[in-house]
């Protein structure tokens, strides 16, 4: 790809970008949100057409007018969000759109055999006839890759493939990518997780503001150099390790049973001014615990108290009133209304508090609130009337945070607050959390990123299969200890098993 340009209304997304991928090479493309990664990938996959520049496949110039064109040229894009039909079988998903046919009919046998072969290549030993719905997210990700392989793709573009995978699923995926590389398949790998890139990529291409910002290869691929190229300056201290002096108990949970794990009662406490991490593998019940605390999921017993006042189970409104706010994991589904403006989103939970006569929307108060939050969290938006859909992921996440903060809560629950957002925005959110804790907010932070949990929290609770398997103070933080507890191999867990 040479000299690719692409302009959108109001923004020049790419200018004169070059990207070269050799056969059997894993090239990581990194950059902050809005740097142009997604646009570049969409052009490569035939989703969008470039305004200028040329694409060469095996030395011959090609024009990709559609996804089908790109697929014929051997290029397949695997989107960040899974594009699978969970009402169909695994095999039907792998072969969707290119089923083996006999006249107008689907040749079921051939189709299934081809699918099964593709599944074998990605190391997924499941029957192609099984319904997709029974597979884990990690397995579904592999189905996506099998789908790409079944059209003989020679260049796979993977957009944040690990953003919802567990550690072991990620390892498995890496194994598959390495195996594909050995077979001569090229991979363009997009990720915000720099440690993954260090482990996997042969070469790193960094984009910044729609331009090539630099390249790193082999031993030069290291965390600080990647970050420096991405932000254009040195980010010396990414996690400002800072200890907080915990105050009184702000959140106290006793004997809480979630609907997902009704047999395990959870007890925990978070003090004012303290950041407590909630670690664990995906499916360990962290999101379920936070959702149940907040009241969007039903509780099967137990009590939740915020500053000595008891919450009503299953009532998020009451939770917000008493000062418990949640930043949910799924930002687009639960966090914001994408088609409403920044202002409308920010004021949504607190609108009634600022209403005139308790009923009529107070435009002035609403605008002032929105502008102050936008300024405080440095949300990048042209104006507060901008529709949230058009903000970058990091700024959307700040809107979700701002919604909660506008209520002036005592306890903030965060569920994967930095998933899929860029390094710069991450650093800003960490700094904000430290500032909030410094002012006495109690924070419970669930995260799958080990670095994040260890870098930000004062204390970590590790969950395993719906219960808290162990607790580690900052002095005892180590990846190994957390993982041991997360897989249920900790001393406490072992003791419990004996007791049963």
């Amino acid at each position: 790809m040479r000299g690719v340009c692409k302009a959108f209304p109001g923004v020049r997304a790419l200018s004169d970008v070059n990207l070269e991928v050799r056969a059997g090479e894993v090239v990581a493309v990194i950059g902050e949100n809005g740097a142009g990664k997604s646009t570049l990938m969409k052009i490569l996959a035939g989703v969008q057409a470039p305004d200028a520049g040329e694409l060469r496949v095996d030395g011959a110039a090609v024009r990709l007018r559609s996804v089908a064109d790109a697929q014929r040229a051997g290029i397949a894009l695997i989107h960040q969000e899974l594009n699978l039909c969970d009402n169909l079988s695994v095999g039907a998903n792998v072969m969707l759109g290119h089923e083996r046919r006999r006249g107008p009919f689907v040749d079921e046998g051939q189709t299934r055999a081809t699918a099964q072969a593709a599944l074998a290549r990605v190391g997924l030993p499941v029957d192609a006839r099984r319904p997709l719905a029974g597979l884990s997210i990690g397995q579904q990700q592999l189905v996506e890759i099998a789908k790409a392989l079944s059209i003989d793709a020679r260049l796979l573009i993977m957009d944040e493939p690990t953003s919802s995978l567990t550690q072991s699923e990620t390892e498995q995926l890496f194994g598959v990518v390495r195996e594909l590389r050995r077979q001569g398949v090229s991979v363009v790998y997009i990720s915000h997780r720099l440690f993954e890139i260090r482990e996997l990529a042969d070469r790193v291409v960094v984009l910044r503001d729609g331009c090539n910002a630099g390249e790193l290869a082999g031993p030069d691929i290291e965390h600080s150099r990647m970050v420096a190229l991405m932000v254009g300056r040195d980010v010396e201290r990414f996690y400002q390790r800072r200890a907080h002096a915990p105050g009184e108990v702000a959140l106290s949970v006793t004997g809480l049973r979630t609907a997902a794990w009704p047999r395990h009662a959870v007890d925990l406490q978070v003090c004012a001014g303290e950041i407590v991490g909630l670690a664990g593998l995906i499916g360990a019940g962290r999101s379920e615990l936070l959702g149940t605390l907040f009241g969007v999921l039903p509780a099967r017993g137990g009590a939740v108290r915020v500053r000595d006042r008891e919450l009503t189970a299953g009532n998020p409104r009451r939770a917000l009133e008493l000062g418990l706010a949640l930043v949910p994991e799924d930002r687009k589904q639960h966090g914001v209304v994408l088609d409403l403006s920044v202002r409308d989103n920010l004021s949504l939970p607190s609108l009634h508090r600022r209403a005139r006569a308790g009923v009529f929307v107070d435009d002035g108060a609403e605008r002032r609130l929105a502008e102050s939050v936008v300024q405080r969290l440095s949300i990048k938006t042209p104006h507060v009337q901008q529709v949230v859909r058009y903000l970058s992921g990091g700024n959307q996440q700040k809107v979700v945070l701002g919604k909660g903060l506008a209520l002036d809560p005592a306890v903030l629950l965060l569920d994967e607050p930095t998933r899929g957002i860029d390094v710069g925005a991450k650093a800003e959110i960490y700094a904000l959390l430290h500032e909030l804790a410094g002012r006495g907010l109690a924070i419970l932070l669930a995260s799958s990123e080990m670095e994040e949990v260890m870098g930000v929290c004062d204390r970590v609770l590790v969950m395993h299969e719906g219960r808290i398997a162990g607790e580690l103070p900052r002095a005892e933080f180590s990846e190994r200890r957390i993982l041991e507890l997360a897989v249920g191999a900790g001393p406490m867990a072992a003791g419990e098993r004996r007791a049963q």
Binding site: G10, G335, L340
Partner: protein, 328 residues
Amino acid sequence: MKKILGIAGLLFFVCVVTALATDRFYDAGNVENLIRRSALFGVISIGAAFVIVTGGIDLSIGSVICLVGSLLPWLLVEHGYSVATALPLVLALSALIGLLHGLLITRLALQPFVVTLCGLLLYRGVARGLTGDQTVGFGVGYEGLRDLAAGRWVVADLDDGRSVGIPAPCFYLVAIALVAAVFLNRTIWGRYLRALGRNPDAARYSGIATARLTVLAYVVCAFLAGVGGCLFVLDVNSAQPSDFGNFYELYAIAGAVLGGCALRGGEVSVVGVLLGAAVMQVLRNSIRLIESIPQQIEFAVIGAVILLGVIADELVKRAAAKRRAGQS
């Protein structure tokens, strides 16, 4: 705002075409009748808009109109109820129907389409059963009551002995539209309805009582259908349960959608809805007046005009987007 201009343009276009095709369109009597019908349909379209903004749909509007419209004269004339009993009774019934819809949709998580489709069959069936499928009417009595809908406020007298007047339903429509506009645009509940119509999960996570507001929308819709039912039957004096209010839900929904309510929820404009309802009535009127259009193809003409309007709207939108893209 742009959407309102678009629908206003369509209304203007249909009026001009009809006026050019037949001079009967301008006739004072026709204009007054047209306004009366538009006002009546405006009332039920506003109801439909409340449900559509939540992302739902109410297919039972026409049958609620039939039930209420048949029950009112049936209770008054056949069973001798007083107006003071019968009128509140039928209006309460319509609100109750809305409550039932809302609870089924929020508590049992049934699809609005299914719930109200069953309602469509159910209420018309009940109306036909109760009345023995016989036409019910007010005859020559209840003049005061009938004036509520059929009355008019005379503004000026014409030379030929006729007069120019404002039909009574206009006043109700203005009152209802004002309340609806303030509710939807200025209160926190209006904002909540828009938010939950586009993303009910995010609204719930924001601490909004989404179920209660959804129920409220269905109650408002059914209640306004009930109000419409009373006004319609008072206007025409009698109701034949087998076809009274037939297809009215589609006129109401089409009016709301033409007026800028996206069926996926979250968007609403009361002025747009009123214009949309008016377009529907002018179309029906012009088919009746223009002799070269046979009556039988009424639905075909209405369907085609709406479709063309929607296509034109989409093309204009795309052209505008392209122009904006070209500028930057």
